[in-house]
């Protein structure tokens, strides 16, 4: 269980959160949505230990996350960042092995069970790419490689910061389907920030709507993404259309 209790956070003397409470549902896909500047990235950073709260508690399985050793935290929580950069050439295989850093000695990177890595490579359909340089891959392939690094950590929680930003529509849906499959097959708890509300409707079990540093609504996608709530918080005109294929948001 990953939870925030009464968390305050400010940045450059500007209050972002005051007494924020939130808990991530285990084994579910939680999506954080909200307009720009609503505090999505800050909440993401607080949950992933990238920022420290001014006061309050953020607990992972009952322990304050800042009392957990960084490598132990990395065994439980993996992150796929919005922008990933390599400063020198690395093959897919070499990069994915880095996901085992929380378990391995820092002086030797070759103690990883090859079966374990092959399983991940096969699951994400990137096994044929394993000896290629990451720089040679397409955006969609690279995103799956970074996901493979996170999965190599064998985490309980997977956090993704706007994972579809740099992907075309085909790869966006392919990637989100892959996340859903991971959640269903392995019971992985997933938390991500998404801008596309239709994707949030389609791929989430729980949606958190943030605005002006407050959680305005939390619940199942259809409970949060309604005409009234979205219009009020995003300042747009929209309607929610229910069809046999699911619920869609249309904005105009």
């Amino acid at each position: 269980m990953l939870e925030l209790n009464n968390v305050d956070f400010s940045y450059h003397n500007k209050n972002i959160f005051n007494g924020l409470n939130f808990s991530l549902q285990d084994n579910k896909i939680t999506t954080i949505i909200g307009p720009n500047g609503s505090g999505k990235s800050t909440l993401f950073k607080l949950l992933t230990r990238s920022e420290k709260a001014k006061s309050g508690e953020i607990k992972l399985d009952g322990s304050d996350i800042w009392t957990i050793q960084p490598r132990d935290f990395a065994k439980k929580v993996a992150i796929v960042h919005q922008q990933n950069q390599l400063y020198d050439e690395m093959t897919v295989n070499e990069l994915i092995k880095m996901g085992r850093l929380p378990y391995n000695s820092l002086f030797e990177n070759d103690q990883t069970d090859p079966e374990k890595l092959n399983k991940i490579l096969n699951y994400l359909e990137i096994e044929p790419l394993k000896n290629k340089f990451v720089s040679e891959l397409s955006g969609g392939q690279q995103q799956r490689v970074w996901l493979a690094v996170a999965l190599a950590q064998e985490p309980e929680y997977l956090f993704l910061d706007e994972p579809t930003t740099y992907l075309d529509l085909h790869f966006q849906y392919r990637f989100l389907k892959l996340l859903k499959k991971l959640n269903r097959d392995q019971g992985l708890s997933i938390c991500m920030i998404l801008h596309d509300l239709n994707q949030a409707l389609q791929f989430s079990d729980q949606v958190v709507l943030l605005n002006q540093g407050e959680i305005k609504k939390i619940g199942q996608p259809e409970e949060v993404i309604t005409k009234e709530i979205i219009s009020n918080n995003f300042k747009i005109d929209c309607e929610v259309i229910k069809t046999d294929q699911g619920v869609f948001l249309r904005q105009y």
Binding site: I79, H81, Y87, D88, M98, L106, E108, N109
Partner: protein, 312 residues
């Protein structure tokens, strides 16, 4: 790749043996087994052997140091010689000549302190700016330290070079340089980790800052010790690792041993070339390396701006 590695190391061993033999027998006076007089033995044991050993260890140390600078600062043209570390070490070593004349270890200790001063500047600027602006800061630091050094040297201080190698300087260089290189081999894998951005490394539970500081410390100590014993030599730390990346790949666990062997050979080759082109006159290794290294640096920059290896 393994087969290629064997070829590369095979050729390096042959080049090393050939160059050592040539360096022993050629110079201001030619020496062969047929004319081993007492005078020639004296030249061999007291001049050429210490000089050859110094060149080998200095070349290995500076190349390994350059590779670690590039890994830690994520910049393919980072080098202790052009970033002010060697010139700071040289300047502080000159201070030691005034304060502790005749105490050789004092020169080394002061050089390391000088290298650390430049290191502290660099590590602080590194937080604030991109790798290329950092290089410009390094060049500026280099100019300042070199300028002060020139003022002091013009007042009568003899500078050190490979030509001034003695058994004493060689012994210090050998012991400290080899210890530094052993540390570099142990920490080589960290160079690979630093290919990944800091945010990702932190989310894997490791500290990029700690890794960067350790690699830079090893690099600074290696460069400072070398500067104390043979003077400031730039560019070898860029040329050798860059050739290594083309020949054996980007894995630092392979690149560091390659830099060690290839750097040792290259420095000896350049020094031997400089003293055998027109004996008894000598062209210093530092000058020859600048002539080769300048164009090499331009080529690397052109390749990077070509896009393939673009770095932020």
């Amino acid at each position: 790749m393994k087969k290629r590695g064997l070829w590369v190391y095979g050729i390096l061993v042959i080049l090393l043996i050939g160059t050592v033999y040539f360096a022993l027998t050629h110079g201001a006076s030619k020496i062969s087994y047929q004319n081993l007089t007492i005078n020639n033995l004296n030249i061999l044991f007291n001049i050429r052997i210490p000089r050859i050993l110094s060149a080998l260890i200095a070349g290995a140390s500076l190349s390994v140091s350059g590779a670690f600078f590039q890994a830690a600062l994520r910049n393919p043209i980072a080098d202790p010689g052009i970033m002010g570390v060697s010139s700071a070490a040289g300047l502080f070593q000159t201070f030691a000549m005034f304060l502790l004349p005749g105490f050789f270890f004092g020169k080394i200790a002061f050089a390391v302190v000088g290298g650390m001063v430049a290191f502290i500047f660099l590590i602080n600027f590194q937080k604030k700016m991109d790798p290329y602006r950092l290089i410009i800061i390094g060049v500026a630091l280099n100019a300042v330290f070199t300028g002060i050094q020139d003022v002091i040297s013009n007042n009568g201080n003899a500078s050190v070079s490979l030509a001034t190698s003695t058994w004493q300087s060689t012994l210090y260089l050998a012991i400290l340089g080899i210890l530094g290189i052993i540390a570099a081999i142990i920490f080589a894998q960290w160079g690979n980790y630093l290919k990944v951005n800091d945010e990702e490394l932190r989310s894997l539970g490791v500290s990029p800052k700690q890794m960067r500081i350790v690699l830079l410390l090893i690099a600074v100590i290696l460069a400072s010790i070398t500067t104390a014993c043979i003077g400031v030599i730039a560019f070898i730390g860029i040329i050798v690792p860059q050739i290594g990346r083309q020949l054996i790949g980007h894995d630092y666990q392979k690149l560091i041993p390659f830099s060690m062997f290839a750097g040792a050979w290259f420095m000896l080759f350049v020094d031997t070339l400089g003293r055998t082109i027109n004996p008894p006159n000598e062209i210093s290794a530092a000058v020859l390396l600048a002539i080769i290294g300048g164009p090499c640096m331009i080529l690397i920059l052109l390749k990077i701006s070509g896009g393939k290896n673009a770095r932020a």
